[in-house]
């Protein structure tokens, strides 16, 4: 337990180290999720359009 606290305390530099790492994590995750969401949205949009076209026929 003590070593774990020591690890997160980072010799007093915890604020610097963990803020840098968490900001990086947020950026990297957003970078992965945004294109995935965009593709899904586009596909759904196209699907709606195609279905509409079929109904008209």
């Amino acid at each position: 337990m003590k070593t774990l606290i020591d690890f997160f305390y980072m010799g007093g530099d915890w604020g610097y180290v963990w803020s840098a790492y968490s900001i990086t994590a947020i950026f990297m995750l957003a970078n992965m999720l945004l294109p995935l969401r965009r593709r899904r949205k586009l596909l759904a949009q196209i699907k709606r359009k195609v279905d509409k076209g079929k109904n008209r026929k």
Binding site: F7, M10, G11, G12, D13, Y16, V17, S19, A20, Y21, I23, T24, F27, M28, A30, N31, M32, P35, L36, R38, R39, R40, L42, L43, A44, I46, K47, V50
Partner: protein
Amino acid sequence: MKIRINFNYFLLSLGCLLLLSLLLAPHTQPLQGAIPPETNAKAIGYQTEFGPIGTGITVFKRRVLNSRFSSDTTLLNKEKVEQMIQPKGTRRFDRNFWLAELLFIVLIAYGFGRYDSITGFIKKTGSLKYTYHLSARFIPWLTAIAVLLLLIGLVDGLVFAPIDAKQKDAYRIIFIHVPASSISLQLYVFMALMAAIGLIWHIKIAEILAAAAAPLGAALTAISLITGSIWGGGTWNTFWEWGDPRMMSVLILLFIYLSIMGLNSAIEDRRTAASATAILTLSALVIIPFVILSVNYFNTLHQAQTQIFNKNSMDPRMARPLVIMIFAFMFYTAATLLMRVRAEIIHSERNTQWVSEEAAGS
């Protein structure tokens, strides 16, 4: 569009450049007197940061600048120079690093090509549908490797790497700062290459790759800038220093990435946008090395580039996680780039038959 280059004009410009290089030759130490002499040593130092381009710069420096500087070594702090020029044994490691990066590129190309002969591969990647399906098979692998390397690198860097003598634990930011900065620069070169290919041969996939690389590069540059500033807050006692050329050059790189994204989104027609963006990318490419190289000539707070494979400069136990993290970021970048490319392909092919089928199946 066809770009006509008048060859007389081209020769004239080459002549001007030649004349200029002759003019500049005796003045490679521009701020002589204005900076402390030991800063000059940095110009001879090893660079391992900028990818393949960096190797070129390093070779140029060793061949050209070294011979020029050797005439006035009295100006330089000799100990520092000896520290910065690598011992002979470490060159092998340095070369191995580049071989490893080359291997990375070859592996990916081989993976793509495994499905087909090389010529068929080149023809087929021209087809967006083929690229779309092929990249779907690649993304899980690339992501898995990236996550694995990230985990190994993080544990190795945060737990097992020793504490730095001067900067204590704050130095551990290096394991994300250096990979992000290095890859943000390499990605720009990649983007410029793709932009040139798209501009000259009108290959659609190159245009899409260039468009997809810009936001990713901007994000990596932002990461590099933010982590760098936090690190600076820990060690230089200042989060932001307007006078620091290194920070400013990265900031300009971020602005350039953002302006490229801005131009790309301002133009309605995708093909026109791709060509216009390509011209901007290539124009800014001329500026970027100028900005980066100017760092060596000015006095900066930023520490000299770490020589990963020089034991005098960096403990191997610190170097190992750093190298792992650089590769992790590379795989991550490749994976996210392909994800963006897939979204872009759907957008640009939205009126075709296969995309409608794809949408119906999803």
